[in-house]
Homo-oligomer: 132 residues x 2
Amino acid sequence: MEDAISILRRCDIQPTPQRIAVVECVLTSKSHPSADDVFSGAREKCPTVSRATVYNTLNLLVEKGLLRMQTMKEGAVVFDPNIEKHHHFIDEETGAIYDIPWDQLEVKGKRGLNDFEISEYQVILRGRRKKK
Amino acid sequence: MEDAISILRRCDIQPTPQRIAVVECVLTSKSHPSADDVFSGAREKCPTVSRATVYNTLNLLVEKGLLRMQTMKEGAVVFDPNIEKHHHFIDEETGAIYDIPWDQLEVKGKRGLNDFEISEYQVILRGRRKKK
DNA sequence: AAACATTCTTGACACCGTCTAAATTAGTAT
DNA sequence: ATACTAATTTAGACGGTGTCAAGAATGTTT
Ligand SMILES: [Mn+2]
Ligand SMILES: [Mn+2]
Ligand SMILES: [Zn+2]
Ligand SMILES: [Zn+2]
């Protein structure tokens, strides 16, 4: 796993303790944390970090393409460290969001949408995860 | 087009002037209005209606299945009077949301998702609408 | 009219996300 | 090292969304 400082430097963002804490929280996450989740996590590594800095850093990471912002459930957007194209499954009971690999689903028929210039798309599935 | 009063009666909701105004605004809409859009519209028909009543009525209509709540853009959920299964295209420049008929897209490959019990799904496409 | 049930309005509240001004920090020049 | 400057962070205010509780209004029953 690449170092948080290296990641920030590679994107021309000065690595500060606050930003490092945010990066370590959000980029190592395998889930889809909200800004507040990241804030809580970053606080443990850097107890002085403020809410504004967390938001600023998250938005910066989105701008630089290290992170995707997704609006999939009401109440708050979530941040997705998985920047590869993929789909999502949302467990309606727990609220958990699962990544579905891109090649697991095939979407056909986009030829019919002549009026639209599609820059991206994804399938959003809802239901509940089978407990096995 | 069925009468707003008839719609409410059919769903065992007492038709009041406020609820009629909300229903007329949201169910005749061919777009995807936010709660605040509905509030503005309902105010014109019933200038005394309050924000709380608009929210209460919208939630009631969702419970009764006359309306779908969708979270597709950040900031506020939208309400969808089209309760048939369909997909959505979001114009990233204007924010407009367009319905894509269900049979215009085909999603295949759900066989691989054995761990998930899918109750619903939709494709969300983003881009910009071609001006022709 | 009086009592009751339903609905509506108002305003408070919690939360999300942005913004600004001031304070702190880091970097540079002398 | 000191002074100056630029970048960053912080704290709090702010506007917007959505919910809630208390009282007012409305409508129905006796
Ligand atoms: Mn979470
Ligand atoms: Mn709108
Ligand atoms: Zn994801
Ligand atoms: Zn729709």
